[in-house]
């Protein structure tokens, strides 16, 4: 292994100029991560808020007004009033509302006291997830209102069993609090594996590698020239993601930022190693990018525990996830962001990431040669 500072600096400078001028690398390195973060932060929230619900009151009275007011106060629902059930059903068919609350004509205090308050809730079941959430939210609103109603009117009513629940680690139960840090995994996989897989393969494809190899550069210099700039790019993207996750989406960063930084650096190195390995073996950009997507990007999405819980995966697939660097990084991110510095979780995961980084970089170094064969 030979190193010449002048050559390495020249290669780094070249790489930076190329990153700056190549719309694709800016796109993958900066625009795509920001976009993903926004999509996951705002778009694919797994919670449902302000769900449009149609309300049909057959015979308005103070009691119905009080319940509808209760519904309006809830942040889960956005009620719209309709004159008749026919009109409301039509609105649901056109998906203007996701559910219909129908308060029958004998929705009165007396009916309530006797335990058979006549109301129906019709939920659009097309989106099963939202439907189930809505059902749950409605139960909550309903029981709260009943309790409040009993208190204010001073009359005991037959309330359903009260459920008391408490949620740990994500007290607000907001999915974006764990999705936003999770996106960091995706972003770093993009920069680390996909972008680097493209850059070496591109040098082979455009014939620049042959010209490069005919100068006195060493293999180590070429590899480092790829690792350096993309490491900086990836860490930059990570910092932006963390700032967005905390600042924009209010994700709590309970643990130490320094541990987070270390974990990210190790994960990025393993991704870079993977990317370099892929593009050294497959010397075409098309093949390299396909392999990178299948081998790193998709697993980071599906098998890392970012969206789907690893514990609920079938046994063989669960075993397979141990081979993925993303798995360890997701565990670290969720722990550091939501639980704090839990060393019994952090240390083994950091160790696993170090091993992965050393392994992939080592193999990439082994398979790169100063020759065209």
């Amino acid at each position: 292994m030979s190193f010449d500072p002048m050559r390495l600096r020249a290669l780094w400078r070249k790489e930076w100029i190329q990153i700056r001028r190549d719309p694709a690398s800016i796109g993958i390195g900066v625009v795509l991560p920001a976009l993903l973060l926004l999509i996951f932060g705002y778009g694919i929230s797994l919670d449902a808020l302000h769900l449009p619900i149609g309300v049909v009151v057959e015979k308005p009275n103070p009691l119905t007004a009080s319940f509808v007011a209760g519904l309006e106060q809830s942040r889960y629902f956005a009620p719209h009033s309709y004159g008749s059930i026919g009109v409301a059903e039509d609105a649901m068919r056109r998906r203007k509302v996701e559910a219909i609350l129908w308060l029958w004509s004998d929705f009165t205090r007396r009916g309530l006291r006797e335990g058979n308050a006549p109301l129906s809730l019709i939920v659009n079941g097309v989106d099963a997830n939202t439907a189930r959430l809505m059902e749950g939210y409605f139960q909550g609103v309903w029981s709260q209102w009943l309790e409040w109603e009993a208190k204010t009117s001073g009359q005991p009513i037959l309330t359903p069993v009260a459920v008391e629940s408490r949620i740990w680690f994500n007290p607000a139960l907001e999915s974006r609090h764990y999705l936003a840090p999770g996106v960091i995994v995706i972003n770093m996989t993009l920069v680390g594996a996909l972008l680097t897989a493209l850059v070496i393969a591109r040098e082979w494809e455009r014939g620049t590698m042959e010209a490069l190899l005919s100068t006195p550069v060493s293999v180590a210099e070429i590899l480092w020239s790829k690792i350096g700039p993309y490491f900086v790019l990836g860490m930059g993207g990570m910092v932006i993601s963390v700032v967005m996750a905390v600042g924009l989406f209010g994700a709590p960063l309970v643990g130490s930022p320094w541990v987070l930084f270390l974990a990210a650096a190790l994960f990025l190195l393993s991704s870079l190693g993977m990317g370099l390995l892929i593009s050294t073996v497959f010397r075409s950009t098309f093949l390299a990018s396909m392999v990178a997507v299948v081998a790193t990007f998709l697993p980071a999405f599906i098998l890392s525990g970012f969206i789907f819980d690893i514990g609920s995966m079938p046994g063989p697939i669960r075993l397979f996830t141990y081979l993925l660097a993303a798995r360890y990084f997701v565990a670290l991110l969720q722990t550091i962001f939501l639980a704090g510095n839990v060393w019994s979780v952090i240390l083994p995961n950091l160790a696993a990431l170090s091993l992965m980084a050393a392994l992939f970089l080592g193999i990439a170094w082994k398979v790169s040669r100063r020759s065209l064969e």
Partner: protein, 581 residues
């Protein structure tokens, strides 16, 4: 000192692939290349030229044999060797998204050029290459010829002692080629550089001091090109006929077994004979009444003769069968009419109000330097690019209104290989036949015709990408002819082809023209312009000259050059137009 060898190859062999797919790229090559000289490396496609150069750089290791370059073992001391070597691969690795100056800086850093020497050397090199005013331009925005010159400059920043160039002039216009070669001569004379350059232009090899002739991985011959040329002495003639036109004469002559090579020159045909008496052979071929006169041999004659003696290239130029069923077309009618045709790209006017017309059965050439607007004109005439203004009519169809119906009557062979590489020869033809909407019966008939006409039957089930270059070109041509087009467009069909393949292609073009097909062709090989009935020379979107090859050359006839070459006329025209602009 200049006689000491700087490259010494001893019994070099190299194979690629394994088992049935094994290809012998080099087979026991031993040769010494002297320092302080320009040595040319020539050979037909697939001769092993690129492999040989890569072995000399150490980027490939030979299976057998020793490579000593500048006193170093290339296979083991590659990195040390790289410091004193300048190597320019076939597609030189310029970083297209880096500016000219940034590319230079990069290679200077990589070669370890001292900072103090850079300013002077950069300006000297850029000046020499005529790139001084383009320092801040991105390499990707340079013309093809400028890119090659920049590539050469980049290999020179480290002041190498030996320069290895792999076909540096492929796809480069004649003017830039001249520039490139004058740079090489200066480097040899002023710096005493040893240069080893591979080329498919034989006239370039002729100007080298030493030539290495390679064929199918074997060394055929080494020596002074003039000495090699002398081997063809007494075997080259010009044949003329009172009854037959040059094109008909050419296709008759090409079918005589004893004639190794033939090409149209003015009103006659220049031939190279394998040996024996020409008159006897003409008599046998039914051409007894022809006039013959001996002409001076060229290096290319010796090249073809040497290959012919070794049994290489035999039967190649002879494969085309006799002209098949005549196309029923009236000749003399204008098939292509272009009037005041313009094309803008943004504010840039690539083609400026050009007008010309091509008659049925004519071979019409489009010549010009890189970036002259040839390809743009071509694409407009093929209906691939809408014109900005003016009239373009092909086979009676106005391209502005009926581009699609015009396309059914034309065949197009693109500059780059544009067939499906992973389909077999047969599958490619099937596909194109269907794409042109040929009926089942006609499809079978035309494919059988193409296989026979182009000698493709043997390769029927081979993948298109595995074909030798010459056969790829044949296949591309076959696919473009399946629907019996009236007009055939050929965009630089001979770029990078070896002389045998080129000669064969031109013979075929001539025969198609005789059958009434109208052919529009672009080329960088100016001697090929002789095959055209008429041609135009364009530069910067304007027509500089129009006429038959003789008419184009006539204004450049002087006392010193009573018979100016097409290249001299071309260079003269371009320089004159640049002087005016």
């Amino acid at each position: 000192m200049s006689s000491a060898p700087c490259i010494s190859l001893d019994g070099i062999s190299k194979r690629f692939g394994r088992g049935e797919k094994e290809v012998v790229a080099l087979d026991g090559v031993s040769v010494e290349i002297a320092s302080g000289r320009i040595t040319g490396l020539v050979g037909p496609d697939g001769a092993g030229k690129t492999t040989l150069l890569r072995i000399i750089t150490g980027l490939l290791r030979p299976d057998q044999g020793r490579v000593t370059v500048l006193g170093l073992d290339a296979a083991r001391q590659q990195q040390e060797l790289a410091a004193s070597l300048g190597y320019m691969p076939q597609r030189f690795g310029l970083y297209e998204d880096l500016a000219v100056g940034e590319n230079l800086d990069l290679y200077a850093d990589l070669q370890g050029t001292p900072k103090s020497e850079r300013a002077a050397r950069f300006s000297e090199l850029l000046h020499m290459a005529g790139l001084a005013s383009f320092r801040d331009r991105l390499a990707g925005n340079l013309s093809g010829g400028m890119k090659q010159k920049l590539g050469l400059v980049c290999t020179l920043v480290g002041s190498p002692r030996l320069l290895l160039l792999d076909e540096p002039t492929v796809g480069v216009d004649p003017l830039s080629r001249r520039d490139l070669w004058s740079i090489l001569f200066r480097l040899r004379d002023e710096k005493g550089l040893a240069i080893f350059v591979s080329t498919s232009y034989l006239e370039e090899a002729e100007s080298c001091q030493q030539v290495v002739l390679l064929c199918r991985g074997k060394l055929l011959s080494v020596g002074d090109p003039r000495e090699i040329a002398a081997r063809a002495a007494g075997r080259t003639f010009r044949v003329g006929s009172n009854e037959l036109g040059p094109r008909a004469l050419h296709s008759r002559l090409a079918r005589i077994p004893g004639i190794l090579s033939s090409s149209i020159e003015g009103e006659g045909v220049r031939v190279l004979v394998a040996g024996g008496s020409l008159a006897g052979q003409l008599e046998e071929g039914g051409l007894g009444g022809c006039r013959t006169e001996p002409v001076a041999p060229r290096f290319s004659d010796a090249f073809l003769a040497t290959l012919g003696e070794k049994g290489e290239g035999q039967g190649k130029a002879r494969t085309p069968g006799p002209p098949s069923a005549e196309h029923h077309r009236r000749s003399g009618e204008d098939v292509i009419v272009v009037r005041d045709l313009s094309r803008f790209f943004g504010r840039f006017e690539a083609v400026k109000k050009i007008s010309f017309h091509v008659r049925a059965g004519e071979v019409f050439g489009l010549l010009g330097p890189n970036g002259a607007g040839k390809s743009t004109t071509f694409r407009m005439l093929c209906g691939l690019l809408p014109p900005s203004a003016g009239l373009a009519r092909v086979a009676g169809v106005d391209l502005r209104t009926g581009a699609a119906s015009a396309r059914a009557r034309i065949g197009y062979v693109a500059q780059k290989f544009s067939l499906y590489a992973s389909l077999t020869v047969r599958q490619n033809m099937e596909f194109f036949a269907r794409a042109y909407g040929l009926s089942f019966r006609l499809r079978g008939e035309r494919i059988r015709w193409a296989e026979e006409e182009f000698g493709l039957a043997h390769y029927r089930d081979a993948d298109a990408e595995a074909l030798p270059l010459g056969f790829k070109q044949r296949l591309a041509l076959a696919c473009a002819l399946l629907h019996e087009p009236d007009v055939l467009f050929l965009d630089e069909p001979t770029s990078g082809m070896d002389p045998f393949a080129r000669e064969e292609l031109w013979l075929r073009i001539g025969e198609m023209a005789q059958q009434g097909v109208t052919i529009l062709v672009t080329t960088h090989h100016l001697e090929e312009a002789e095959f055209c009935d008429r041609l135009i020379i364009i530069a910067e979107g304007r027509i500089l000259a129009e006429g038959s090859p003789g008419e184009i050359k006539a204004p450049f006839r002087t006392a010193e050059t009573p018979e100016p070459s097409m290249e001299e006329a071309f260079v003269g025209l371009i320089e004159r137009s640049r002087g005016e602009g």
